[in-house]
C-alpha cells in the first residue's frame, strides 16, 4: 500500500502548486469586475436564454455504451496479464467474449445509436 501514498502525495502537491500560482496571480493581477464584463460571452451579443438546458439525449446513450464497454475492458485486463499461464482455453474463451461484445456493438450500430446528432 505504501506505493499508493505517492499518488496521494502527487494529488495534494498538484492541487497545492496550482493553488499557489493562483494565489501569486491574485497578488499581481488587477480586479475590476463590473456588469458588462461579467456577462457571458456570446459573440458580442447578449446571451439569449440559459445554457443549462436539457441537452441532447444522444450524448447519454453514448455514455451508456461507453460504460458497457469499459466494464468489459476491466475483465480484459486480468485476462491479458494472466494470458501467458492460461493458454489456448483463455484465448478461445476471450474470442467468444469479444465476439459477444461486438454483436452488442453491431446491435447498437443497427439501432442507430452510434449516430451523433
Amino acid at each position: 500500500m505504501a506505493e499508493y501514498a505517492a499518488v496521494l502525495v502527487f494529488l495534494l502537491v498538484g492541487i497545492g502548486m496550482v493553488l499557489f500560482t493562483f494565489f501569486l496571480a491574485r497578488l499581481v493581477r488587477p480586479a475590476n469586475p463590473y456588469k458588462e464584463k461579467n456577462q457571458n460571452y456570446e459573440c458580442a451579443e447578449k446571451p439569449v436564454g440559459d445554457s443549462w438546458i436539457q441537452f441532447n439525449n444522444r450524448f447519454y446513450i453514448f455514455a451508456l455504451v461507453f460504460v458497457v464497454f469499459d466494464v468489459e475492458i476491466v475483465f480484459l485486463f486480468p485476462w491479458a496479464v494472466a494470458f501467458g499461464q492460461l493458454g489456448l482455453f483463455a484465448l478461445v474463451e476471450m474470442v467468444i467474449f469479444i465476439c459477444i461484445l461486438l454483436v452488442g456493438l453491431a446491435y447498437a450500430w443497427k439501432k442507430g445509436v452510434l449516430k451523433w446528432v
Binding site: E42, C43, E45, G49, F55, N56, W116
Partner: protein, 370 residues
C-alpha cells in the same frame, strides 16, 4: 432509433457572430439548435452597413471610383470596373485597346488574389491552418504587381471611367510572367494539401447541396451557381470588355455541394492565369485612357451593368440626370444572394457544416451590407 428521437431535447438559441472567427466579417447568425443540429438559421446583417450608396449620391463620378473600392475590397478592381463600365455605357465611350487589355489583366489577377483569400479562409474554417498561409504567400506576389502599378495593396482606384489611371511600369510584364510561371505549381501545391485529403473530402462532400433550380431562383451567381451545374458566366454569356477575344474554359460541376464549389474555384484560378497569359501576349501599345473632360457629365439616362466578379454577378445600377453627380448608384454583389440562400441549405446540418458552407459560398460582408 425512433425511441431515442422521441426523447425530448430542448432547443436553444445560439448567437454566432457578429464577432466570430468564421463568419467572414461581421455577420450574425441566430441559430436555433437542437444539440449540435441546426433547426433554423436567421442571418442578421447590417453590421458593416456604411451607406456607400448614400455617399455616392453626393460625389462626382471620379470621386465615386474610390468609394466602390470599399464595396468589395477583395476584388476592388472589379468594383472599379463595374462602375466604370456602367458610366461608359451611359456616355457611350470608346476605350483604347491597351486600356482594355490592362483591365483584363488586372481583373483576372484580382480574381486570383480573391480566390486565394477564399482558399486560405476555407482551409482555416475547416481547421487546417497551413494552407491559409500558403495562399497568402502567393497573394503577396499579386499585391506587389498591383502596388507597382497603382501604389495600393487593397484599394486600387486604378480602373477609371474611360480607361485606366496610368500605364503599367516597365517591370510589370516580366514580373507578372514570373508569377504566372510559378503559379500553376503553387495551385498544384494547394491541391496536394486539400483536394484529396480524406478529412477535407468528408467534411465537404454532400454538405450544403444547392440544386440548380433553387440556385437560379434565389439569384445565386458565380462559382456557387456553376458548381450546381449551370454553365452561366457573364464573361461568356453577356461579354463585357473584350472577354470574347480570349480562350478559356468555364468549369462546371454537378452536385452543387461544398466540395464542388471548392473544385470550381481551384479550376477558375488556373483559367484566370491562362487569360492573363494570353492578354500579356497580345498587349498592344498605345493610349491607356480615353479623353474625359475634367468636369465629366454623362448624358441623362439609366443603366444596369453587370460583370462577373470572383463572387458572382456584380452589378451597378446608375441613374444620371446629366449633372456631375449621379442621382442614384445601387450596388449589387454576389454575396448578397449567396448569404440569403444559406438558411435554405443549412437546415438539418451541424454547426461545423454551417462554417463549411459559409466558407464555400465565399460570402464577404461589405458586399452584403455596403
Amino acid at each position: 432509433m425512433s425511441e431515442i428521437d422521441k426523447l425530448q431535447t430542448e432547443e436553444f438559441v445560439l448567437n454566432m457572430g457578429p464577432h466570430h472567427p468564421s463568419t467572414h466579417g461581421v455577420c450574425r447568425f441566430v441559430l436555433k439548435m437542437e444539440g449540435e443540429v441546426i433547426k433554423d438559421v436567421e442571418p442578421v446583417v447590417g453590421y458593416l452597413h456604411r451607406a456607400l450608396e448614400k455617399i455616392c449620391e453626393n460625389r462626382t463620378y471620379a470621386q465615386i471610383i474610390p468609394v466602390t473600392d470599399r464595396f468589395e475590397y477583395c476584388t476592388s478592381m472589379s468594383c472599379n470596373m463595374a462602375f466604370a463600365l456602367a458610366v461608359e455605357k451611359l456616355a457611350a465611350m470608346e476605350i483604347p485597346e491597351r486600356a482594355q487589355y490592362l483591365r483584363i489583366i488586372m481583373l483576372e489577377l484580382n480574381r486570383i488574389a480573391s480566390h486565394l483569400i477564399w482558399f486560405g479562409t476555407t482551409a482555416l474554417d475547416l481547421g487546417a491552418i497551413t494552407p491559409f498561409l500558403y495562399g497568402f504567400r502567393e497573394r503577396e506576389f499579386i499585391l506587389d504587381l498591383f502596388e507597382m502599378t497603382c501604389g495600393q495593396r487593397l484599394t486600387y482606384n486604378y480602373i477609371r471611367v474611360g480607361g485606366v489611371a496610368r500605364d503599367i511600369p516597365t517591370q510589370f510584364v516580366p514580373k507578372c510572367r514570373e508569377f504566372l510561371n510559378i503559379f500553376d505549381a503553387c495551385v498544384d501545391d494547394y491541391e496536394r494539401l486539400l483536394t484529396e485529403n480524406v478529412i477535407f473530402v468528408v467534411r465537404n462532400k454532400n454538405v450544403g447541396v444547392l440544386p440548380p433550380e433553387k440556385a437560379i431562383a434565389w439569384g445565386v451567381s458565380g462559382p456557387a451557381l456553376r458548381a450546381s451545374g449551370v454553365k452561366h458566366d457573364l464573361r461568356r454569356d453577356d461579354p463585357y470588355c473584350i472577354y470574347d477575344r480570349f480562350d478559356f474554359e468555364i468549369p462546371t460541376c454537378q452536385n452543387g455541394d461544398c466540395y464542388d464549389r471548392y473544385i470550381i474555384r481551384i479550376k477558375e484560378m488556373r483559367e484566370s492565369a491562362k487569360i492573363v497569359r494570353q492578354a500579356l501576349d497580345k498587349l498592344p501599345e498605345g493610349e491607356t485612357r480615353a479623353k474625359v473632360k475634367m468636369v465629366f457629365k454623362p448624358p441623362a439616362g439609366e443603366v444596369y451593368s453587370r460583370i462577373e466578379n470572383s463572387r458572382g454577378e456584380m452589378g451597378m445600377y446608375v441613374i444620371s440626370d446629366g449633372s456631375t453627380k449621379p442621382v442614384r448608384v445601387k450596388m449589387r454583389g454576389g454575396s448578397y444572394n449567396q448569404l440569403q440562400v444559406i438558411p435554405e441549405i443549412t437546415r438539418g446540418h451541424k454547426i461545423a457544416d454551417l462554417v463549411a458552407i459559409m466558407a464555400s459560398m465565399d460570402v464577404i460582408m461589405p458586399e452584403v451590407d455596403r
